[in-house]
Structures are given as C-alpha cells and as structure tokens.
C-alpha cells in the first residue's frame, strides 16, 4: 500500500523545488507524491507522479483539453469541479482520474447521481487539506460541510477518495498522522484515511482479473 499525497505544486508555482518536496514527503511518512506541472528526472526520496489539472467551463472544453498531448503524458488527470451538470458529465469521461476543488463548488454540485457514476467508473474525489489549514471562519466551515457531504456519499456508493495537501511550499505539507487529525474534523475514521491515502496507487494499478500469459 503506497501512501500518496495527491497533489503538490512545486517551484516555480510554489517556493519549494520538487526534489525538496519529495525529501520532505519522505520525512512526513509518504511513499509518493503527485506533482502538478512539469516533472523532470525522478528526484531522491518519495516517488513522483506527474499530475495535470484541467480547469474547464464546459464538458466540451474538458474533452478538448483531455486530447492534448501533455494531458495524455500525465499519470493522474485532475478536473476542477463545476456545476452539477458538468460534474455528472465529467465523471463519465474515461481519461479523468480525479475530481478536485469540490469545496469550491456549490452545495449538492456533486450529488448521488455523480457519486454512483464515479463509483462505477473508478473516478476519485479529492479532499484538499489546504482550506482546512489555511482558511478560517465560515469559509472553513463550508469546506468541512462539503467534505462531510462527500464522505456520506462515499460511504453509500463506495467511490474512491484521495487526500491532497495542495502544498505550494514544504511549510504546507503535512504528515500522515496530521492528515488523520485533520480528516477527523469532518468525521473520517483512521481506516478511511488510510484507504484514501492509498487510492492513487490503486488508480495507477487497478485490480484486474488475472491474465494467462
């Protein structure tokens, strides 16, 4: 079981280089990280996967972006959540691995129909720790409410969850133990957190029937 931080933003987007973030991730108990943006050679420390984020206003635009060569090269394809129709459509696309930024979407934008579809196709929903760490007051309360709602849908339909620090700096990365404490704020159990941290590994290597060679 590989424990993975589902998204980090290394230098030049953030203030820490990919190699330093990989070193820090190892110290914090992670086996791998998903770096958003260009990934050069594999640095020492945690394994680095290449992630790409698609921010589209419509399903048509999302499909167009998914055909780009840079997206095809990526290990993990993230799509930013939108309105209810967009989310229902996006979970049905074959190339999409994870829906992220669910905390910024409107209430019920990710509903039971999208949840059932995500479970069927193995599309994960990302839980970003950044709003819990950085935000205060009503904005953080809203994020916790959204995550609690996603968790209740996950328990009912069984789609995968991923957990990301969304760190732009090593100062924003958190250890696996701290992730458990933060996820407990919206009712996630330790076992659910462990499963969510291992989801990226399962998305990369899905369980398939044994092939006779």
């Amino acid at each position: 079981m590989k424990i993975t931080d589902a998204s980090v933003h290394p230098y030049p987007t953030g203030d820490s280089t990919l190699a330093r973030m990989a070193l820090e991730a190892t110290d914090l108990g992670f086996d791998s990280i998903v770096a958003i943006g260009e990934v050069g050679r594999q640095p020492p420390g945690a394994e680095v996967l290449r992630g790409i984020v698609i921010n589209a206003a419509s399903q048509k635009e999302a499909i167009k972006r998914l055909r780009e060569p840079s997206v095809r090269r990526a290990d993990v394809v993230f799509v930013n959540a939108g309105d209810i129709a967009f989310n229902r459509a996006v979970v049905g696309l074959k190339e999409v691995n994870v829906i992220r930024n669910i905390h910024t979407a409107r209430r019920n934008a990710f509903d039971h129909v999208a949840a059932r579809s995500a479970a069927g196709r193995g599309v994960a929903v990302d839980i970003s720790l950044a709003p819990i760490i950085r935000l205060r007051g009503t904005r953080r309360q809203r994020a916790l409410e959204r995550y609690a709602d996603v968790l209740s849908l996950q328990r009912r339909y069984g789609f995968p969850l991923t957990i990301s620090s969304d760190a732009h700096s090593i100062l924003e990365q958190r250890s696996a133990r701290e992730v458990r404490g933060l996820c407990a704020l919206f009712g996630m159990t330790g076992a659910e957190v462990s499963e969510a941290l291992a989801s990226i590994g399962r998305l990369m290597e899905p369980e398939q029937p044994v092939k006779v060679v």
Partner: protein, 160 residues
C-alpha cells in the same frame, strides 16, 4: 500560599513541536498568540478554555505547548493549522507528547546549518544559502524585513 497537593492538581500533557523553516526563531509570546488563535478558530472558546493551551518553552527551533490531559490530540490538530507566527510563514510539526517537559527536552535535536554559508542570485534577487543535513538547502533573501525563503535541495542548486 501553599501549593495544591499533587492529587488535586490538574493533570497536564506537553507537546513538543518542531518549527519550520529551520532558521526560524519565533518569539515565545508571538508563538502563544498564534497557537491560541489557531486553536480558538478551530475548536471555539469553550474547548480552548477547557484545554488551557500555553507555550512554555520556545528555543532551538522547538516549541513546547502545555495543555490539559485528554485534550492533547485536539491541540495537536490545532497546531497543524498554524501557518504563521508574527506574519512570518512557518509550519509546526508535532514530534512527541509527554507528561513532563524534561522527557521532551531529551528529544530536542537542534538542526543547525552547515558552516559554509554562501551567496547566490535567483532572478534579480540575492539570497544567502544555508545548507542543512540530508541535502536540504534554504535560500534566504537578503534584506532586513519579510525576506523570502526558497526551499531547494543540493541537486537543484548544482543544476542551476
């Protein structure tokens, strides 16, 4: 005034926290304000009043936070939401929890930069290079106030 007998005293727990970046030496009072703000924002006045968190030690890149026994998990969670002390971006990493400060002080291993400090430029900015064990390199912008810090590794510095 005679102190309370031990059985009547409130049971405490102490949380040892490492401060990042390595060179940061926050003021104890400012650290206390940041911890209280984060805890109150997360758990509310009633819970923080019950937990009685306080910063009792702040030195060598480490902080010891005192709290009531049984609330240490909540306070440790609140500590992960501390992002700045006196406007300087920092991170607090929980190292250990104990019933005595003495036991925690044995766990303190100060991380100091390797002796050879040099200078470099990144774009138009001048930085001082501080090397730390495990190939970690911090570039601190030259200046008096609000210096930017960039986190590199030894390999990144060689590749530039």
């Amino acid at each position: 005034m005679r102190p309370r007998p031990p059985a009547m005293r409130t049971k405490r727990r102490y949380i040892l926290v490492r401060v990042l970046p390595y060179g940061a030496r926050p003021d104890q009072k400012q650290a206390y304000f940041s911890v209280i703000e984060a805890a109150t924002s997360l758990w509310g006045d009633a819970a923080v009043g019950f937990a009685q968190p306080a910063v009792v030690f702040c030195d060598a890149g480490y902080i010891v936070v005192r709290c009531r026994r049984g609330t240490e998990k909540d306070i440790a969670t609140a500590l992960t939401t501390v992002t700045a002390i006196a406007d300087a971006p920092i991170a607090l990493r929980t190292v250990a929890v104990s019933g005595t400060i003495h036991a925690l002080k044995r766990r303190i291993k100060p991380i100091r930069p390797l002796p050879e400090a040099e200078e470099t430029t990144l774009g138009e900015h001048h930085f001082t290079v501080y090397r730390y064990p495990r190939q970690k390199v911090d570039l601190v912008e030259k200046g008096i106030k609000h210096q930017k810090i960039v986190f590199f590794s030894e390999a990144d510095l060689e590749e530039r």
